[in-house]
């Protein structure tokens, strides 16, 4: 799992690459929180084009990130969801609880 990103005009964009499961989720959440706390963006965009696999650990992580942004009175947007992560999000009904765009 690799995270790269940048913050421009209050929009923090983070690109995920690899597989998001329980093994890496704690570290990913720590990295995510750290960047959100550092930039205090009004919007956080998670670009999942490079995320080839995700399971329920990923769902919990995305929902936590959404909650964190909401608590900062900002918003979270998820984009570039690939086939397998999309099926998992829909099966868990999490697509209804997250802002997702193409």
């Amino acid at each position: 799992m690799k995270i790269t990103g940048s913050c421009q005009e209050g929009v923090l964009t983070l690109r995920f690459q690899g597989e998001l499961d329980h093994h890496v989720s704690q570290e990913v959440m720590a990295a995510l929180s750290e960047r959100i706390d550092a930039f205090l963006p009004r919007k956080c965009v998670l670009d999942l084009r490079g995320l080839s696999f995700m399971d329920s650990s990923g769902i919990a992580l995305l929902l936590r990130a959404e909650k964190k942004m909401r608590q900062l009175e900002g918003s979270l947007l998820v984009t570039g969801v690939q086939e397998q992560p999309g099926r998992v999000l829909r099966a868990a009904g999490a697509d209804q609880r997250l802002g997702i765009t193409e």
């Binding site: 499961d21 329980h22 696999f53 650990s57 397998q84 998992v88 099966a91 009904g93 999490a94």
Partner: protein, 145 residues
């Protein structure tokens, strides 16, 4: 039901083995000439069952996890994930969507995802003895030459 092919893998409940286990299942399933969607569903279901053994069965120690893969008649793959951990006191309740004993790092959707991505899910568990999850998934029959 007799298996046409089978493999057994035993490994310690280390989180690094979650990716190992789902990749092994995908490799074994390759003989069924699966679609990408079928492979993704299989990997997800295996990942959920193995992660449960790692996270819940052995909360404060490293225990053993057994992954059994059996190819059955009619393009059916049977996956068994077994642990000898703490067990589940109420299986029906544990299988309800959103039920979790795991806090905010968990979503309580593991069993629902396993049920959704396979055709048959059976869970047997005894407190203090361990848990066995058996899933069956039928793969599409693709054109054979």
């Amino acid at each position: 039901m007799p298996a046409l092919n089978s493999v057994k893998l035993e490994f310690p409940s280390l989180s690094a083995n979650e990716a190992f286990a789902r990749s092994c299942a995908a490799c074994f399933a390759a003989q069924l000439d699966p679609t990408l969607e079928e492979l993704g569903d299989l990997k997800t279901a295996v990942s959920e069952a193995v992660t449960n053994a790692v996270v819940h069965a052995y909360p404060s120690e490293i225990g053993r996890v057994l992954l059994k893969l059996r190819l059955l008649e009619g393009n059916v793959l049977e996956v068994t994930v077994k642990d000898w951990g703490c067990g589940i006191p109420d299986v029906a309740q544990a299988m309800e969507p959103l039920f979790t004993t795991g806090g905010e790092e968990r979503s309580g959707m593991g069993f629902s995802i396993m049920a959704c991505f396979t055709d048959k899910l059976r869970v047997r568990s005894a407190p203090g003895r361990g848990t066995t999850v058996v899933m069956r998934k039928k793969f599409s029959r693709r054109i054979q030459l």
